[in-house]
Amino acid sequence: MMNKLRSLGIRALLLCESLGRSAFFLWNILNWGRGFKAPLHRLIKQAYQLGVLSLPIVLVAGIFVGMVLALQGYYILSSYGSQEAVGQMVALSLLREFGPVVTALLFVGRAGSALTAEIGLMKTTEQLSAMEIMGVDPYQRIFSPRLWAGVISLPLLTVLFSLLGIYGGAFVAVNMLGIYEGSYWANMQQSVLFYDDVMKGVIKAVIFAFVCTWIALYQGWQSRPTSEGVSMATTATVVQGSLAILGLDFILTAVMLGGF
């Protein structure tokens, strides 16, 4: 009994410790002295790794999610005789929820895991300590460009995901289900608001990007310098990142819809 209590206590203390360490880690990245000194070419290289290379999976996923939404929406709405509203349904669900959330989940799986593995391996091969010995600040050289590249890339990916989803939905609705093209777009334009729907989705994506990249970098940084440690850290990035996205999404949606 005492042993069980003790192990519970140890776990709680470890959790608190890692929360604190990750906060300090973030503070070191954001610290004014070095955070914004990230040289542009490193930022661009990371934006290529995180953003451009994630494009194929995000775009293909966007088209298919939009197409499925149109199909599902059509069958539900047609039982109320209002299948013309399918455009509005596809656009609103993509812009408000599916766009930010699914893109962020894909981003964690595609880019977040790669970040963790890369940094974990740098730690295993003692590149990080070597940098510190040479007087190169790893926060400035490694972490900061990656964090900012993630924060820039994910919202852009989200916009493209939603856009392609809406066009994929239009393709299915107009060509397969025979909805008049004009009413697909007109219904959508009437009900979608630029600030309330489009921009709030982008704001969500910025917050998700920040949290995902932070988790990925921290997991890589704190991983045990063994091959097993790196693999555990990569798993932890995907699991914690996905859970953080879904949990945060609920909170952000509640706040944005004024539920509180």
Partner: protein
């Protein structure tokens, strides 16, 4: 050389995404960049606006000429006051009437205007006097049942 092509790819990525946001703004949300100078405000008092929303269409002969900006309750007379933004290029005569209509059987509510024959025109801030409230389906059915039971007696 390789660094250059990466930079080009990132630049393209950012540009395409920005263009995507622009398409979302213009094509999907129907955002229009127009200043307040292009429209003037009219008010109309309705006894019942049930289901009318802000941003609802204001149409004249089926053509959209404006939108609903604001709906408030006037606590002195307990009627709803609807504020509408109408395009500058559409002058409306003084005896214009406004009614709340429904597009389709279950569609959204909008305001339909019909112009009268008066020579003078409404100015910004004027109130449309001749209004017809939204039709509430339950009231109609109630009236129908009431008249049927009266007939059968």
């Amino acid at each position: 050389m390789q660094g250059k092509s990466i930079e080009v790819a990132v630049g393209l990525f950012v540009m395409v995404a920005m263009a995507g946001l622009l398409i979302l703004a213009l094509n999907v949300s129907g955002l229009r960049f127009q200043s307040d100078d292009d429209e003037y405000y009219l008010y109309a008092r309705f006894e019942n606006t049930s289901g009318l929303n802000e941003r609802a269409k204001v149409s004249l002969s089926g053509v959209v000429v404006g939108r609903v900006v604001d709906i408030k309750l006037d606590t002195d007379s307990y009627v709803a006051v609807v504020k509408m933004a109408i395009e500058k290029g559409v002058p409306l005569s003084l005896d214009t009437s406004a009614s709340i209509l429904t597009s389709g059987l279950l569609g959204e509510k909008y305001i339909g205007l019909s112009v009268g024959a008066d020579e003078e025109y409404l100015l910004g801030g004027d109130v449309i006097e001749d209004t017809q409230s939204a039709i509430v389906l339950e009231e109609l059915i109630g009236q129908f049942i009431f008249s049927r039971t009266n007939e059968s007696q």
